[in-house]
């Protein structure tokens, strides 16, 4: 394999505490190395060099994403590009086609992306889309928070059985981590109901979201999985919901991470922007980002990603079925719902975050405040909960707002209800501007560590995968806000596991993308196996033998992470 030497760039790598030093980065056989003998030399003088970025939470593949694509032809208007050379045609803005998804992430310097919610019964669909997404490594989180097995085991506090079931499900769906979406609430949605508080009982199953969350933390740590539980809490999107969020985060108190992957957190709360609202109704809607961020700052065993609102027309989609119904009642746009037997549900509704609407402005402020009030950027990650708060292609714009107070002020001035946005939030008083080192923490080192993948991704230490992005951005120069956005929209060079993907801004290869999944080994558990047989016999509409995802046509290039949880 070829060798490369990226010379004289400004290197940002929090894993080695390198903060903009002018250094060389060497690549050999797909890995970062100390030095190389006969490399192809790339002159990165005056440019910024970082590891490839990771997206810890994005809805990019699977049934609800495809519902979004299929039921929104308008999303493709005026943005299609034809096939060119080896590159496939692209289309779509908030829910791009799989090919555009891969290309667009690569163009921004992203090399690893996690699909945030995989309904287990639809695992094949998720993997087919992942297969058709070029370049980037991907994994998918199966959803567990409303799964009947989990509800029944945890009602009786059977952690070991829950863990054995998780191990089985991760294996048969080729999943990566334990995802919870509106725990209990989505099962309640089977009857058109919801669980808004962590103490609300789930109909019939007689368990509370609190018990589900704590039980799954315990099962996750029993298994020692690479990632912690990945939680979308209850009561998303409602005024005054920050108290529910604090109640939820407090459930992690007292738990300690147990794993061999260097992960310290036991709970990752995702898109916390949607969960940090004050007020009692839309009219007195306000930001409670400070309260939430302060709590996260104090608790070392939780991490968050933000879910920045980008002020675009987008497509919301979540396994939080009752929320999407609530949203369609609110904005009266078309609504798709997809309940999944024994497991979960999903909803999809288009949404317009308009700068003319005061609530959208405050939501925009909440996201930025969460990040700007955060003290440990290793535990606060950049996402837009793509496509819920905005498309992932807007990450460079979010970086502009995070890195420039001037950019934020310009946006505040542009709001129609500017005064009200300012009075209901604290964004106008914040003068913090994130540094490139902090950006590298939010987008590289941080997510890699929380995902338990810091032995592969997130840094430029010799031995790590050679995922390297070079941006045409000189950190020593003054930049206008829009220049930040421009520079981070298009990498100059990109390598994925040592393969050159982008050279001089042009995509030249589809790389060698991998599907990451976790295979935990547990003790034989006849009871759980019997329960599985029983449920398939009586309640599923597919047979047990037709459930497992097998075959190269779903996962042509798997990367399996083995976890030994036998006792």
């Amino acid at each position: 394999m070829s060798e490369y030497l990226i010379k004289n760039g400004f290197v940002f790598d929090p894993t080695q505490k390198i903060n903009g030093d002018v250094k060389d980065v060497a690549i050999q056989d797909g890995k970062i190395v100390d030095k190389v003998a006969k490399p192809k030399v790339i002159d990165a003088k005056g440019m910024t060099v970082m590891a490839g970025a990771l997206d810890i939470h994005a809805h990019v593949a699977g049934p609800k994403v495809n519902i979004g694509r299929i039921f929104r032809p308008e999303d493709k208007l005026f943005n299609e590009t034809p096939r060119k050379g080896m590159m496939r045609s692209e289309g779509g803005f908030s829910i791009p086609t799989t090919y555009r998804t891969g290309y667009a992430y690569a163009r921004m310097g992203y090399t690893t992306v996690m699909e945030a919610a995989m309904p287990p019964l639809f695992a094949r669909h998720v993997h087919e889309e992942i297969r058709d997404t070029p370049i980037i490594d991907e994994g998918a989180y199966p959803v567990f928070g409303n799964n009947w097995f989990v509800l029944e085991y945890l009602k009786n506090r059977e952690i070991e059985n829950t863990a054995a079931y998780i191990a089985w499900l991760l294996r048969v769906t080729r999943g990566f981590a334990v995802k919870l979406v509106n725990p209990g609430g989505t099962e309640a949605w089977g009857w058109g109901l919801n669980c808004l508080q962590v103490t609300d009982p789930v109909p019939y199953f007689d368990i509370t979201p609190e018990e589900i969350i704590k039980g799954l933390i315990e099962a996750n740590e029993y298994l020692g999985l690479p990632h912690s539980i990945h939680l979308h809490g209850n009561n998303l999107g409602n005024p005054g919901n920050y108290t529910t969020t604090l109640d939820t985060l407090k459930l992690a108190e007292g738990y300690k991470a147990k794993n061999n992957f260097g992960r310290d957190v036991v709970m990752h709360h995702t898109h916390i922007q949607f969960h940090s609202y004050g007020g009692t109704k839309w009219a007195d809607f306000e930001s409670k980002a400070k309260e939430v961020a302060d709590y996260v700052n104090r608790q070392k065993n939780i991490s968050i990603d933000v879910g920045f609102v980008t002020l675009d027309e987008t497509t919301t989609m979540t396994a939080d079925g009752p929320f999407e119904h609530h949203l369609t009642e609110l904005n009266h746009l078309k609504w798709a719902n997809a309940d999944v037997e024994l497991e979960t549900a999903a909803g999809v509704v288009p949404y317009i975050y308009s700068p003319d609407i005061f609530v959208s402005g405050v939501q925009w402020a909440v996201g930025l405040e969460i990040a700007l009030f955060s003290k440990d950027m290793m535990r606060c990650h950049l996402t837009t909960d793509h496509p819920n708060a905005g498309p992932f292609t807007r990450y460079p714009r979010v970086l502009k707002w995070l890195m420039s107070q001037k950019a934020r002020d310009e946006q505040i001035k542009a709001f129609k209800a500017s005064d009200k946005v300012v009075s209901q939030s604290q964004i106008a008083e914040i003068d913090r501007e994130l540094t490139l080192f902090e950006v590298a923490q939010m987008t590289r080192a941080g997510p890699a560590k929380v995902l338990g993948l810091s032995h592969m991704y997130g840094g430029l230490k010799p031995g790590l995968d050679a995922d390297v992005a070079v941006y045409d951005f000189n950190p020593e120069k003054e930049h206008k806000p829009d220049e930040i956005e421009k520079a981070f929209s298009h990498v100059k060079f990109l390598w994925k596991t040592g393969t050159p993907i982008i050279t001089d801004g042009e995509i030249i290869s589809h790389g060698n993308k991998r599907t990451l999944w976790v295979n935990p080994k547990v003790n034989e558990n006849p009871q759980v196996m019997r329960d599985i047989h029983d449920k398939f016999l009586k309640f599923y509409t597919v047979t047990e033998k037709n459930y497992e995802v097998t075959g190269k046509h779903f996962i042509p290039n798997p990367f399996v992470i083995e976890v030994d949880a036998t006792r």
Binding site: R69, P73, K76, P82, W191, D339, E341, F539
Partner: protein, 438 residues
């Protein structure tokens, strides 16, 4: 000794039953017996065993007779046809696996073809309605486990999806529906009494073509608004009664079929049905689901969806995808004379399209890829027989509720036969050579 293969997926209709048992001969070459399948599924498996099936491509001669040709010659003819055409119609896709569909889409992208599936004469109108107003839906297991209100509108599963009622809708005993059919109220709306309507607790014999009025009347009746004495042939008292019965359920589902998608008002019927479902969610839990026909027509829509963003009628003649039903749909293209060649795979437009379209196909350079002899294979210039997906080769398929199920291979195809995917791969390879792309 014969061998029994269990958990086989039936490659016939959108019900996609996955509990078929197939007994094969000890050399694994012949199907001896098929169990659990419905009459249609049983025939599909046995049909693959016919001794008179075509096993090699056949080229039409000037006098209308057919001459056997090799697969290589068939690949060459097909690739040349694609390469020389300005716009090929690639129609069908609904009875093959998703892998074959993917390969076909790349050919379309390179050659600038139109990809359309059987939804164009089936549930395409549903897809238009979904794009208008969304669709609250669920998997079939949710119905089995929860539903106590089952409504069949303009569909007749007793004949078209024979095992649907026992596996998913009327009869099964699920988690919250332990009494099976006794825990459910079944409603059928159809202009004609059918074998499905015989099973209904409530049968509404709607006047033909008046479904839209009746659907909107139900919406009004939910709110106890005023109705004329009779709507679509149904007295208003029965409509109010029906609406109250639906509202009183815990979990309901509307299944609908060709009776509403391809009759007067078309997509507007489905708009109204979806809005009725949405309205019902104000009172209880309700979902709606199209009764998709071919076993993988849903899959074709899904693969087109993630690769191009549209579920059918995808025109890639400019290198990127455009979608405009009525313009980029198969029959419109054929009747307008907008395509200069036709590639048909895994479906039979010869039997189902209007004769004006069929005549156009017969006049153009054309290829039909199909394991059977069909009216289509008899009018196309080239017939390429292939292995039966789901019997002689596996591959992914999507059930009517979008659940993906990987079909199984149970026996080998006759020696030397290609699968859809293999044939398309060869064509793709040759097309790339002809077009000079990598």
């Amino acid at each position: 000794m014969t061998k029994t293969i269990t958990d086989v997926i039936c490659p016939f209709c959108g019900t996609l039953c996955d509990d078929i048992e197939v007994v094969v001969s000890d050399d694994g070459k012949k199907i001896v017996e098929v169990m659990n399948a419905c009459a249609i599924g049983y025939e599909k498996f046995h049909h693959s065993q016919a001794t008179d099936r075509a096993t090699r491509p056949r080229m039409q001669q000037a006098d209308g007779s057919y001459k056997e040709v090799s697969y290589d010659e068939a690949v060459e003819y097909t690739a040349q046809m694609f390469a020389k055409s300005k716009k090929t119609l690639m129609y069908g896709w609904s009875s093959t696996n998703c892998e074959a569909q993917s390969v076909g889409h790349e050919i379309a992208e390179i050659c600038g073809s139109v990809v359309d599936n059987t939804a164009t004469v089936c549930h395409g109108t549903t897809l238009i309605a979904v794009q208008d107003v969304g669709i609250p839906s669920c998997t079939l297991g949710e119905i089995k486990n929860r539903a106590d209100r089952i409504l069949f509108w303009g569909c007749n599963p007793a004949h078209a999806h024979p095992r649907h009622m026992s596996r998913y809708s009327i009869f099964p005993r699920g988690f919250f529906t332990g009494k099976g059919q006794h825990s459910r109220k079944v409603v059928v709306v159809d202009p004609r009494p059918t074998d499905t309507s015989k099973m209904a607790d409530y049968y509404f014999q709607v006047e033909q073509g008046r479904d839209y009025e009746l659907l909107q009347a139900f919406r009004a009746a939910l709110k106890h608004e005023w109705l004329p004495d009779v709507v679509a042939g149904i007295p208003k008292e029965r409509i109010y009664e029906g609406a109250d019965m639906l509202k009183a359920g815990r979990f309901g589902i509307i299944f609908f079929g060709m009776g509403v998608t391809q009759t007067l008002s078309k997509n507007h019927n489905i708009d109204a049905a979806i809005m009725l479902t949405k309205d019902l969610n104000e009172y209880t839990k309700f979902n709606i689901m199209p009764m998709r026909g071919h076993y993988n027509v849903t899959g074709s829509g899904e693969v087109l969806g993630w690769q191009f963003g549209f579920p059918y009628a995808v025109d890639i003649s400019r290198g990127f995808a455009r979608y405009n039903p009525g313009d980029t749909t198969s029959n419109d293209l054929l009747m307008r004379g907008d395509v200069d060649s036709v590639f048909v795979i895994a479906s039979d437009p010869g039997a189902h399209f209007p004769w004006t379209s069929v005549k156009k196909i017969s006049e153009l350079p054309s290829v039909a890829v199909d394991p059977h002899f069909t009216p289509t294979t008899e009018i196309c210039k080239l017939h390429v027989p292939v292995a039966f997906v789901g019997i002689e080769v596996g591959g992914n398929a999507y059930r009517m509720d979008n659940v993906p199920i990987d079909t199984r291979k149970v026996v080998d195809p006759p020696e030397g036969m290609l699968t859809d995917e293999q044939f398309l791969e060869k064509v793709l390879h040759r097309v790339k050579e002809l077009k000079g792309v990598h």
